[in-house]
Amino acid sequence: MALTKEQIAQRIAKELQDGYYVNLGIGIPTLVANYIPNGINVTLQSENGLLGMGPFPYEGEEDPDLINAGKQTVTTIPGSVFFDSAMSFGMIRAGKVDLTVLGAMEVSETGDIANWKIPGKMVKGMGGAMDLVAAAKNIIVAMMHTNPKGESKLLPQCTLPLTGVKCIRKIVTDLAVIDITEDGFKLIERAPGVSADEIRSKTVGTLIVDGDIPEMIF
């Protein structure tokens, strides 16, 4: 069974380590916050100027001056801090953020990522994604394995305008956990009940399948 978006987030949450500062992008990445393992203390950074982001507010307690980078109303946790956008991207650029999780339209087998523009169709802009992927030491892409047409989002080369070059090392999709190595995509884990052959058939580009690939454990 392919994973749900919640399960993708749940799998990514297993990559969190105690003490991490983490930036979560819009969409599936935001859900990772719901699955932070017990005993692990992570601090969420929101690039609009907040470190120590808490959950959504209770109804009636929404504060229009307190939002995340997805423009959603949020709260703070004890020890949180606000800062301006220059400092926010300063800490990102300087590599202070331990993990960035973001979505993608395409990822290439060399670690290029495209997620901000479809020429002639969609022009939303890159927001903070180009800064994040250029600077972060540790980036995980959270996405569906294929697009709505059923085409692989993992490709030998991206066809859409790039967000960053050779920056992605790990992808978690609804079908698999895949590392990006010198030799291409490498299958690390399978979604429960999804075969390596199925993953291979839905992946365009080199997919290294080395021995028996374990299923993800939740």
């Binding site: 690039e47 209770y58 229009p64 301006d84 523009k117 890159m126 790039l162 070059v165």
Partner: protein, 232 residues
């Protein structure tokens, strides 16, 4: 020198057609609502606007777009505005999309008196087209120029009559750097107090950067994505 203006209309009175204006805010959070309304009323045209976002169809900078006042928009993310997309695809509006950190840093550079900065963001992408690339310690960086803007319009929480400003929560965002970067900086504040009433230890923008200040009224503070959790 008196920096205190009566209202937004007075503060933006000399902004003329063709001006370049920085506008603080992230989405609809921390935007100078009063000045945007005054600029719509004044109907200045051919404006180049530097702001992280372009508002939504019926609020924020979206109001100026709807009124066809913008010639060019420099922003990082414009996803929530249908009118923006329409004007962009039809060629009515010139748009430069740049990385958010680059936007912030180009404002900061202007405020710190630096002509340009180097950044990793956008290397190897279409953002790099035509820009100088320099290698430092084995990595490529893009040379990005400081912004040059006629006016910076910012929104703060509290300000004093000397122009010192304090922002609230994430409504700070781009406001402090833009405040530092304008040839003329206009600040609208929710509370305007006498010098000495704000604790000098916690002022975010020193008054030297602020030329005009007024107490705004009727803040709507619209929420773009209202997200809540259930009690219990």
């Amino acid at each position: 020198m008196n920096k205190v203006f009566k209202n937004a209309d007075e503060a933006v009175k000399d902004i003329a057609d063709g001006a370049t204006i920085m506008m603080g805010g992230f989405g609809l959070c921390g935007i100078p609502e009063n000045c945007i309304a005054a600029l719509v009323k004044k109907d200045v045209k051919n404006i180049t606007c530097i702001s992280n976002n372009a508002g939504v169809d019926d609020f924020g900078i979206g109001l100026m777009l709807k009124n066809r006042q913008l010639k060019k928009m420099i922003a990082s993310y414009v996803g929530e505005n249908g009118e923006f997309e329409r004007q962009l695809l039809s060629g009515e509006l010139d748009v430069e999309l740049i990385p958010q950190g680059t936007l912030a840093t180009r404002c900061m550079a202007a405020g710190y008196g630096m002509p340009a900065v180097f950044t990793l963001a956008g290397v190897g992408t279409e953002v790099a087209a035509g820009k100088e690339v320099r290698n430092f310690n084995g990595r490529d960086y893009l040379l990005e120029m400081a912004f040059d803007s006629d006016f910076a319009i910012v929104k703060a929480w509290k300000g004093d009559k000397a122009g010192n400003l304090i922002y609230k929560e994430t409504a700070r965002n781009f406001n402090p750097m833009m405040a530092m970067a304008g040839k003329i900086t206009i600040a609208e504040v929710e509370e305007l107090v006498e010098p000495g009433e704000l604790d000098p230890n916690i002022i975010h923008t020193p008054g030297i950067y602020v030329h005009r200040i007024f107490k705004g009224t009727g803040y709507e503070k619209r929420i773009e994505n209202r997200t809540v959790r259930k009690r219990g």
